[in-house]
Structure formats: C-alpha cells, structure tokens
C-alpha cells in the first residue's frame, strides 16, 4: 500500500551547492540544486558520489531534510564523522558554487505523503532527525490537520538540529507535539534530561494513537526506540525504521 508507482532508472546528476549553513557544532546543511530534478517523497534519500582527479570514487547516502516544495532544490544535513572520508570533505572543503554528483530520490518505505494520513509518531536520535524533518515540514505545508508527535533525542541543547524551527513549530502548530530528550545534558525549557524512555512513548501515544511510526537514528537508538514502541503496544507492522551507519 505504501509502494509508490513505477520507479525510474536513477541517473547521476550534477547538483550545484546553493547555500551552506552551520546547524550545530557537528552538523552543516547544504542546499543543492540537482540538474533536471523533478520531485521526491518526504523521507527519501540521495546517493552522493565524489570523484578524485585520478578517478577514485566514494559514495555515501544522505537523507533529504527539506520538504518536497517545488523549489527544485534539496537540503541535506550532514553530520561530520570523525575520521570519515566523505562527511569531513563536506564540512571542510565544499563551498557555495561547487558541483556535487548525486542520484535519487531513493527509498520507497521510510516515506510519508498526505494520502498516508495520520496520526504520525516520529522518533529521531541525533542526525536521525533529518528524514523526519522532511516529513514534518511537508505535513505542515500540505496536511497540518494531521496530528504529529516528534520525540527527538540529542546529546545536548547545542546539538539539537533545527532547534529554533522546531520550537517555533511547536508554538504555532496546534496539531504538532514535541518531546525533546537531552541524553547528556541537564533538563531545561521543558526538555527532558536523559535518554528516550517508555514514559515519553506512552505520553506520545496516549492522546493520539499513531497510524504509522517512523524511527530513525543510530543502530542502538533505533533498537531501543523501536523496542519501546512495540512494548508500548504499537503494532510492529506500523513501525518503520531507518538506521544510520547502516
């Protein structure tokens, strides 16, 4: 039922870097304009291919954080991995005006469209927020009446990606609930100190039982969060997972 119509063959395209923004000490966002880009579904990712002068290539996958908005651009939020090959290149070398090769959009499961409806529960750890943000932004634009709850865990207040936007959306959007965990920081501004727990899941599902739950983050985070969601009584077949570093 969530299978989208006829996938096209995915070709490599050049994408111009239009904007770069520092989101947190470890995450930068890159707004790219891929040539001949049509659209995508919220939650999808792209494959990036970098080529050295001698022809050596490296590929990685990155989720799209922007909503499918008809702008012809996509926003990637890339966390720098210490000792990594591709993410330090993005953080230290890439400049506005550069061309980056990519193909996509990819992924026909960790997606949300207005016709999928809700309520939806989104659970993100660290940079696992990125595809969930695409879903949240898309929902706000096209189906703001669909109840959405985001449980978002980051190490600290400073490491909350798109923090001001999330807090503003919470203030402005009566159908959006935000539960923030700071796993290695003190509680503040209604944010909970400590890791995601059963209490937060129960709070998230008590008023609006989710039709679909999306969990994204590191492998240990997704294991814990999806096990908690199942233990809270959600049907496993309604829970979709995506693991980073995987």
């Amino acid at each position: 039922m969530d299978v989208k119509a006829g996938p096209q063959r995915l070709v490599w395209r050049n994408a111009a870097v239009e904007a770069i923004e520092v989101l947190t000490p470890r995450v930068k966002s890159f707004r790219l304009r891929p040539e001949g880009w049509t659209t995508f579904t919220a939650g999808q990712h792209v494959d990036i291919r970098l080529t050295a002068e001698d022809g050596y290539q490296a590929q990685r996958s990155y989720s799209i954080g922007s909503a499918p908005d008809g702008s012809g651009t996509i926003e990637l939020a890339i966390e720098v991995m210490t000792g990594g090959e591709v993410s330090p290149f993005f953080h230290e070398i890439v400049e506005i005006g550069d061309d980056i090769e990519l193909r996509g959009p990819i992924g026909g499961h960790f997606n949300w469209s207005a016709e999928d409806g809700g309520p939806i529960l989104l659970i993100g750890g660290g940079s696992g927020l990125v595809p969930l943000m695409s879903i949240l932004r898309h929902r706000a634009a096209v189906a703001p009446q669909v109840p959405a709850t985001l449980i978002y865990s980051a190490r600290s207040y400073e490491e909350l990606i798109w923090r001001e936007e999330l807090l503003r959306r919470r203030a402005d959007d009566p159908h959006f609930r935000l539960i923030i965990h700071l796993s290695r920081d003190a509680a503040r501004d209604g944010m909970i100190a400590g890791r995601i727990d059963a209490e937060s899941i129960e709070e998230a599902i008590e008023t609006a039982r989710p039709l679909t739950t999306y969990v994204c983050g590191s492998n240990p985070f997704v294991s814990v969060a999806s096990d908690l969601a199942v233990a809270a009584g959600l049907d496993p077949s309604t829970i979709r997972t995506e693991r980073y570093g995987g």
Binding site: S61, E85, I106, S223, G246
Partner: protein, 201 residues
Amino acid sequence: MATRGFVGRRPSDEIGNRLPPGQYLTEDFPVLSAGPTPHVKIENWSFTIKNGIRPVAKWNWDEFQKLPHVKLTRDIHCVTKWSKFNTAWSGVMIDDILAEAGIEAPTAFTLAHSYDGYTTNIPTADLIGGKAMVATHYEGQPITPDHGGPARLLVPHLYFWKSAKWITGLQFTSRDEAGFWELRGYHMYGDPWREQRFTDD
C-alpha cells in the same frame, strides 16, 4: 568529472580489489531493517519449503539442528555502501535442505519469507550449488536478533538485503516475483560487482 578538492582515502590494492564499485570497508557490523526487530523464540521457530502455495517440507528448530551444519566465510556487501570481509557463518546449505526434503528445486525463482513479513526474491540458481545457506551462527555464536537470529538466509554474492533476516521459509515461484525492497525501487537481482543497486541499474 572530478569533484573539486576531493582527494579521498583509497584503500590498499589488497582491500580495494575485494571491494565492489562504490563500496567501502567497515570493521563494524551495521544493522539494517525496515521495522522493529522481531524476537522469535526457537520453540516457536519453523522453516518451511513451499512449491507455489503448497508446503513440501517443514522443520522445527530441533529438527533443523540435526541437518548437516557447515561453515561459510565470505565477504558481504550492503547496498548502503558498506562491505565487511571474512564474515564467518555456520548453518545449513540450501542444497542440503533440498536433499533432506527429497526434492530438486522445482522452479527457477525463489521468494524468501521472514517472520516480520519481509520478502526478497532470488533466482534459484543463486541459492544452490554451494552458494547459499540458512545461517544459525555467526562467529561461533547464535545469531543475535538484530542480525537476523535465530536464523537468516545467507546469499553472500548478492547485496545483503537478499540475505533475509528472521527467515521462516523459501517459496519456489514460477515467475520472478519482486520482494519487499525490489517493489520499492531496488534491483531484482542485486549483483554488487555490477553495482545493481536500483531498478534497471
């Protein structure tokens, strides 16, 4: 076209020659799945061979353990770009499962079925002839639930989404029927050396 300023970190030839295009070597063992990890108890576990919709053989856990177990050490390649070398599995070769069932593979295509509803399609020729097994152990230990335990399919020469976790059966089909990811934009065959990641690659 070169990417401005990209130098990259080439692996040694020894490693590079074992990496299919677009892959990088990892020492970890990342986990991928479309949903929560099912925790299948071995007392409830069973493995069924079907020809179309007709079951032709079935084993419970204890019966399955009595089938001949062999070791298979192989490099594995995930479509998300990581590869891992020398992964050491043990389990029952598909050849031995069919022999035990007293049948020869009846059709050219197979659909693997998992406890979480996951499916993936593999040509039967890629499962027999010493190419694939139902693995129950990894590095001498029972496979953990996150990695597909109690038993997973192991088809190491194809992208690893073909090595279905939490396997509960193989179904021989008359046509090549797309499985879970194959319906969602991923390649019907998935040869990493031909970089068959997505539909029509």
